[in-house]
């Protein structure tokens, strides 16, 4: 019996050691450096207390990156969830070539986010502009990614194009768990399609809705690949996300300690938002 117990410990200990070494230890180091002024390559550094944290709240670039990232994440989350739910409803009804269309809508999920970004980068510059010109619209005939005020919409479009794939499949899985006879009963009662959706479909999808909202929001807050491929954070700093700012400042700007402090704040923000989202959405699940 003791042998069995030892075997169970042996199964977990290597994972525990590696996880600590490459996940927890770096995270603790990040927190440690956030209280120093280390630039990432010098031999020495000093402790500066909470100075980095104080400066972060006064840093226009940091505030700008938070505003952009939140605006982007919220809009993307809503669009992805509305569209993927609609597509899932479509794919779940009696249509022809169901498997083919399901395959098409899921296709973007298997593609590299970076390369999709490069492809759209070209489309925004050379294809959509041609359409805009044909429509005679001055606004649409310019590259949206080069526009200080509207570049973020371009990133939203690409993220939604790719992001709906996974959520659609999850919603579709959810729809298939709803028993058919519920709909039969409601149609006998003469309920309208719209009524049916709000009274049967949507409440029964609650747990899938929760997962999809949390996943989409988390993905949105971490946005990095799309921005590297589409705008590099520009024009100016208009589309510099938090992740991109930490990366560029930390690795190229000699701000290792300062961006570590930024990352610590970012971590707290993500934890708080995830907790609120889960609590709020799960409460809603219970109420239903």
């Amino acid at each position: 019996m003791a042998k069995r117990r030892i075997a169970f410990y042996l199964m977990t200990v290597p994972a525990l050691v590696l996880f600590f070494a490459f996940h927890t230890y770096p995270a603790l180091q990040g927190i440690f450096y956030s209280f120093t002024n280390w630039d990432g390559y010098s031999a020495s550094y000093d402790f500066v207390g909470f100075k980095n944290f104080v400066n972060i709240f006064k840093d226009a670039n940091v505030i700008n990156s938070y505003v952009f990232t939140f605006k982007y994440a919220i809009v993307t989350t809503i669009l992805i969830n509305v569209l993927s739910l609609l597509i899932a409803l479509g794919l779940n009804s009696k249509i022809k070539f169901k498997n083919f269309f399901r395959g098409v809508y899921f296709l973007p999920n298997i593609l590299s986010v970076l390369i999709v970004g490069f492809i759209f980068n070209y489309l925004f510059a050379n294809v959509f502009t041609v359409w805009g010109a044909k429509l005679g619209s001055e606004f649409l005939s310019q590259n949206i990614l080069g526009n200080q005020n509207w570049a973020w919409i371009g990133i939203v479009i690409v993220a939604v194009w790719q992001g709906i794939a996974f959520n659609t499949i999850l919603y579709l899985a959810g729809l298939q768990t709803i028993p058919r006879d519920l709909y039969e009963a409601s149609s006998l009662d003469g309920a309208s399609r719209f009524r049916e959706f709000w009274s049967i479909t949507f409440p029964l999808l609650a747990s899938f809705f929760t997962i999809n909202m949390v996943l989409a929001m988390k993905g949105g807050l971490m946005v990095f690949d799309q921005i590297v491929a589409l705008t590099g954070g520009g024009p100016g700093r208009a589309t510099q996300s938090i992740a991109l700012l930490i990366y560029t400042g930390g690795f190229q700007g000699g701000e290792f300690a300062y961006q570590s402090a930024n990352a610590v704040i970012y971590f707290i923000v993500i934890v708080v938002i995830s907790a609120i989202q889960l609590k709020f959405l799960q409460k809603r699940e219970m109420d239903l």
Binding site: A21, S93, A263
Partner: protein
């Protein structure tokens, strides 16, 4: 019950929607096959002749086969080890949840799902460089370790639905814990292994950030990273760029064409459970 006939309105709407998905992919293939003269005439038209020289040039310019080999090694090794090790860890946790150590371990691993990668991004480069692990081997180890957070959560949930009886019978027959896991539990994990394997495969193959910050030597670059590095050179030659993009996307697309149903069902099953 009467079987309802096909709903054509929705079929048409779904078809129109799918054009939005397919259009960028049509453009990718068509631009990759054209030359600059054809591009000047019309960007939208189908290519008149098939310019496969774009692919030849892209393969040479980006050293495609080397990047493909790197991506393949990283993905295959990571996914293989993730399935073998993460499931084993989860098994030990799931069967000892009443013990403090294992319960603590469970929450320790899954709490990492809430930790954004950015907080470890800067120090992990330092740690891996100090250990001379800023290479393909190091990258594989990181993928296996970082997979633990999500995979422990999924595996533990699944293993707890497997009844104890089978294991007890094996123990009575004198099988060790290891033997029980490999011979009895692991085969039963096949459906959830499919889900985790597919998700891990997609995220590893398409990952850009970890190779970007970790890999020092250009010979070890992965497919997405190579596209990023060559982006500057591509800017003057779109046909070459798109041929290169298409090459980089194609391995996964080809697998998807053959295993589409299996991939989607794998993810769907995981979601329902």
């Amino acid at each position: 019950m009467m079987r309802k006939s096909t709903n054509w309105t929705i079929t048409i709407l779904v078809a129109l929607g799918s054009l939005f998905i397919l259009f960028p992919l049509y453009m990718t293939i068509s631009i990759a096959l054209k030359n600059s003269e054809e591009m000047a005439r019309s960007i939208f038209s189908l290519p008149t002749g098939l310019h496969f020289e774009n692919f030849k040039n892209a393969i040479e310019a980006t050293n495609f086969f080397n990047a493909f080999k790197n991506s393949a090694i990283i993905t295959i090794c990571s996914v293989g080890f993730i399935l073998l090790t993460n499931s084993m860890v989860a098994y030990a946790i799931a069967r000892n949840m009443e013990k403090k150590f294992f319960k603590g371990l469970y929450f320790y691993f899954i709490s990492a799902m809430f930790i954004p990668f950015q907080i470890i991004m800067l120090p992990v480069v330092k740690v891996t460089t100090d250990l001379s692990m800023n290479n393909i081997t190091g990258l594989i180890i990181l993928y296996i370790v970082y997979g633990l957070a999500f995979n422990t959560f999924v595996y533990v949930g699944y293993i707890r639905t497997i009844p104890y009886e089978l294991e007890e019978a094996a123990t009575v027959d004198g099988a060790s814990t290891w033997g029980t896991f490999w011979k009895i539990i692991f085969p039963l994990l096949a459906p959830i292994n499919a889900t985790i394997g597919i998700l891990a495969c997609l995220s590893t193959w398409n990952d850009f950030m970890l190779p970007l910050i970790l890999l020092g030597n250009q010979d070890s670059y992965t497919l997405p990273l190579v596209q990023y590095v060559f982006q500057g050179q591509f800017s003057t030659d779109f046909n070459l760029a798109f041929a290169s993009y298409l090459l980089a996307l194609s391995p996964m697309v080809i697998i998807y064409l053959f295993a589409q149903k299996w991939i989607i069902n794998g993810i769907t099953q995981g979601a329902v459970k």
